[in-house]
Subunit: 141 residues, 2 copies
DNA sequence: TTAAATTAAATTGTGCACAAGTTAATGTGG
DNA sequence: CCACATTAACTTGTGCACAATTTAATTTAA
């Protein structure tokens, strides 16, 4: 049981890092990191959103998001503004540059899939198994 | 393509963090982190090993390992010593406390599997798909 | 109405990851 | 033999993750 080869969790951990490093060269061209890319993707789907909403979708807390969002703000891809109706809430909006970045990012998923050298079928199979297990976690909590 | 739901990589990233947080309470009892646990597992299989050997098995470089190993040394679970035949190489050995920790860690995999609420079959399925894709990466590089 | 509880975000501190560069020891070709 | 390349580990700097605490705003309940 305590052998690395018999572990399931280590391959997941290794694959997760492998994926991030496959994304890196393509995201370097956009001057963002993988977690920043995830946040931008969430905002490209719906804009604006609160820190809480983004955190809920990505399973990240404000301890991770606050500094990350400040870095995206420093790159002028997003703006941060407290809501007047509830001063506790910070609303994140895309800047024009942030909206424009979506076009440049359009080719990233395809490039990554090519670089990972996997077929769409393998990816789908992987996703199905992973989400099945992830959903079990969510329903349990 | 740029929607979070259509992404394969995000579920992997999310599952990897989910796994680490499932391990956390059990590893807290041993006073080690998940990456530290991986290093200990590698050493329980073969002792001693060089920093390079450990790094090769876990896909981690010395920039990550050196400080991690120093923390394990501070906990007195391992010792670090330069080889006399080649002073560039640092050899990592388990201390008696490091060897003893294996017994305490024996139940961790089972406890984690229970806590994750998954069957052995699901885990095997997950592992098969993940390692298939991971191996493609390795052979490509 | 106001004291207590709750909530949202920020802050602080620790520990990975990893790129890039450094240091020191060992190998190698001329 | 010795300059040069290579190698192993270390160091430095940036950016996550995440636990724990703090701050400030809002909600609630007595």
């Amino acid at each position: 049981m305590l052998k690395l080869k018999s572990q399931v969790c280590f391959p997941i951990y290794a694959l997760s890092r492998e994926i991030t490093s496959t994304y890196r060269p393509f995201l370097d061209e956009l001057d963002i990191t993988y977690p920043q890319y995830l946040v931008m993707m969430v905002l490209w789907e719906e804009d604006p959103q609160t820190v809480n909403q983004i955190g809920h979708k990505l399973d990240l807390d404000s301890g991770t998001l606050t500094p990350l969002l400040k870095r995206l703000q420093a790159k002028e891809l997003i703006s941060r503004k407290r809501k007047s109706c509830d001063e506790r809430v910070v609303e994140i909006s895309l800047t024009p540059a942030g909206k424009n970045l979506e076009k440049a990012a359009e080719q990233v998923p395809l490039k990554v899939m090519e670089a990972m050298n996997v077929t769409a079928e393998e990816l789908q199979e992987l996703k199905d198994v992973v989400t099945k297990i992830l959903n079990k976690q969510r329903t349990r909590v």
